[in-house]
């Protein structure tokens, strides 16, 4: 089901959480709401789920007016950052909950629960209590619970935020594959740009209660519409008003053309890539990113003086009224 949020606004006291936000999500797509904390991304998700009432604007799910519908009638599955497990119920009963409150026949419940536990690979643990599961297992249980009632829409609020890095990476890939399998329209909230780029087809970048830009990961990276998006999605060098990605800084053998000298301050080995921290003749600091092979070839070391070329720096028009931010909750 397609999801449409139109002109949503929401305040908490004097804090503007959402300021006239409109977002459209295509049927069957996987969308990320990306932004720093306080940008309004979680609030928007909760407004769509019906867990928060907007001060203004409308929510449509599958073309149906849902603005005033209670959460339980919206057909949404919601996954919380901290799992929101029912601690007094077994894994089986947690997953069965939605079906039980809908008074489905017992046989159907059993069949659906075991089907879902298999899908999230918890089929051996149906008799366990939440306190006996790891964080990753809890979140998979929460996902199974949300999917059990066949929601039209799946909403995940920082679903991997409480997990450690390795489990995170694993669940990310797994969520992607799961989505390819069941095609339920999915929105997830994250503050991790890498996570958004890796999992989502469409990213909505939010900042201070507004949408900064919407697009595919590639569009956002290659054509950021504002300095906020550019600096939020990937590392960036700022040279005056111009912005430049570290991997666009070229280390060249010869002086001439659009080049300048630079002093190597630090060489950081990050695995396949090597980050070179440089100081320009005017004292400004930038960083360049090169592959391990070319770092080796250039025999980079600290204190060395190099020639660099700074091509295609991007300059952004100052946004109207950008020097007087409306709400800086971040």
């Amino acid at each position: 089901m397609a999801i449409e949020a139109r002109n949503i606004s929401k305040r908490f006291g004097t804090f503007v959480a959402l300021d006239d936000v409109s977002v459209t999500v295509k049927d069957g797509s996987l969308t990320a709401l990306l932004g720093p904390s306080g940008s309004g991304k979680s609030t928007l998700l909760r407004v769509i789920a019906g867990l928060e009432t907007p001060d203004g604007g409308r929510v449509l799910i599958g073309g149906q007016e849902m603005t005033d519908a209670p959460a339980r009638n919206r057909g949404v599955g919601f996954v919380f950052q901290h799992y929101a497990a029912f601690k007094h119920m077994t894994v089986h009963d947690n997953v069965a909950f939605g079906l039980k409150v809908r008074r489905r026949p017992k046989a159907e419940i059993e069949e659906r629960v075991s089907e879902l536990l298999k899908l999230v690979r918890l089929d051996g643990l149906s008799g366990r209590y939440p306190s006996q599961l790891s964080g990753g297992q809890l979140q998979r249980m929460a996902l199974a619970r949300a999917l059990a009632v066949r929601p039209q829409v799946l909403l995940l609020d920082e679903p991997f935020g409480a997990l450690d890095v390795q489990v995170r990476a694993e669940l990310r890939g797994w969520l992607r594959r799961l989505h390819d399998e069941i095609h339920v329209t999915t929105i997830f909230v994250t503050h991790d740009q890498e996570e958004a780029m890796e999992v989502a087809e469409q990213i909505v970048v939010m900042n201070s209660g507004r949408v900064e830009q919407t697009g595919s990961p590639r569009e956002l990276y290659e054509n950021p519409s504002s300095e906020f998006v550019m600096s939020f999605i990937g590392p960036v060098n700022r040279i005056g008003n111009a912005y430049l990605r570290p991997h666009d800084v070229q280390i060249v053998p010869e002086y001439g053309g659009n080049t300048t000298e630079a002093l190597v301050k630090r060489v950081v080995h990050l695995g396949f890539e090597v980050r070179v921290e440089l100081t320009l003749p005017d004292g400004r600091e930038i960083s360049a990113q090169v592959t391990r092979a070319s770092a080796h070839e250039l025999e980079l070391e600290e204190g060395q003086i190099l020639t660099v070329r700074l091509p295609s720096a991007r300059v952004f028009e100052p946004a109207p009224g950008s020097d007087a931010p409306v709400a800086s909750g971040a």
Binding site: R72, F78, A84, F86, K87, M89, V101, Y129
Partner: protein
């Protein structure tokens, strides 16, 4: 309640390390622990264990037969059943009210929330005697509602309804106060999860909220019961202390004591103590069994 992560178990100390060096430090720590323990136990012994043990001793000093006779006296029997009857009415009332109040105070957003919180604590602060007097002022023959009540043939003061009221007032805060912190710790996530899964408010309460807070409620109920059975001051005033009619077990104990019937007084006192003790132990066993299962 216990939300401690199951993974945070005490790391095993390598034996070699435990045995080597640090012996003196460990000894000092042990001495400190022992010292603390004896102070705590000593305090309890002087205040609680000694007096209670004394009462048991004095009660059975002249054998079980005398105690049995004292307990079988009609007035003793009446007082016993009356105390149970009052508790059986006041405790459920306060349980329902307490849970409702806790939900309102923790989940509700309305004006006057702070005032409601204060009001609920008031019975803790006011002397029970004052509670009794206020009830007489309102429901007594010359009281506020007294005229209307008399006209309709309802007697509150000097009868069971008044005693139930007095008991309910003095034991009012326990369930709410024990439930509130548990509700706060539970948070709203699981209730919201239930809502997105299709549960209505009523289903959410019965299937998610209540089971999650039940140990807080149970503890509140136990405290309420103990207080209801033991209440003296407020009940003493509203009951009129009519032997065999409005005399509860604590009132009976005092009556026997004042009439130099020490066997009768001690026997009834022991029954009261045993009632309280049984409630506490029963709760402890129940809680431990269920917790062992859930919060490993």
């Amino acid at each position: 309640m216990s939300a401690s992560a199951p993974h945070l178990q005490r790391p095993a100390v390598p034996l070699a390390l435990a045995r080597s060096g640090k012996e003196t430090g460990r000894r000092a720590a042990r001495a400190r622990r022992l010292g603390l323990r004896s102070v705590a136990l000593g305090y309890l012994a002087v205040l609680l264990i000694g007096p209670v043990a004394m009462i048991f001793y004095r009660t059975f000093e002249h054998g079980v037969g005398a105690v049995w006779t004292a307990l079988m006296a009609p007035n003793a029997q009446h007082a016993f059943w009356l105390s149970l009857e009052i508790a059986a009415i006041a405790v459920p009332l306060n349980t329902v009210f307490g849970i409702g109040a806790a939900l309102l105070l923790e989940r509700g957003r309305f004006r006057g929330r702070a005032v409601l919180g204060l009001l609920i604590d008031l019975p803790f602060a006011i002397s029970p005697v004052v509670v009794g007097l206020t009830l007489v002022l309102v429901y007594g023959k010359t009281g506020w509602l007294g005229g209307w009540l008399t006209e309709n043939g309802i007697q509150v003061i000097f009868s069971v309804p008044g005693m139930v009221l007095a008991t309910a007032v003095v034991s009012l805060p326990f369930v709410a106060r024990e439930t509130m912190p548990v509700l706060r710790e539970l948070g709203t996530d699981s209730e919201q999860a239930a809502a997105t899964l299709g549960a209505g408010p009523w289903q959410t309460f019965w299937r998610v909220t209540l089971p999650a807070i039940r140990w807080g409620v149970v503890y509140g109920v136990v405290l309420t019961t103990a207080r209801a059975l033991g209440e003296f001051g407020a009940v003493s005033i509203v009951s009129g202390r009519i032997e065999g009619q409005t005399q509860t077990l604590p009132l009976y104990v005092q009556d026997r004591f004042e009439n130099f019937d020490s066997t009768g007084a001690y026997a009834a006192a022991v029954v009261l103590a045993l009632l309280a003790f049984t409630t506490l132990v029963a709760m402890n066993l129940l809680t431990r069994r269920a917790r062992a299962r859930e919060a490993v």
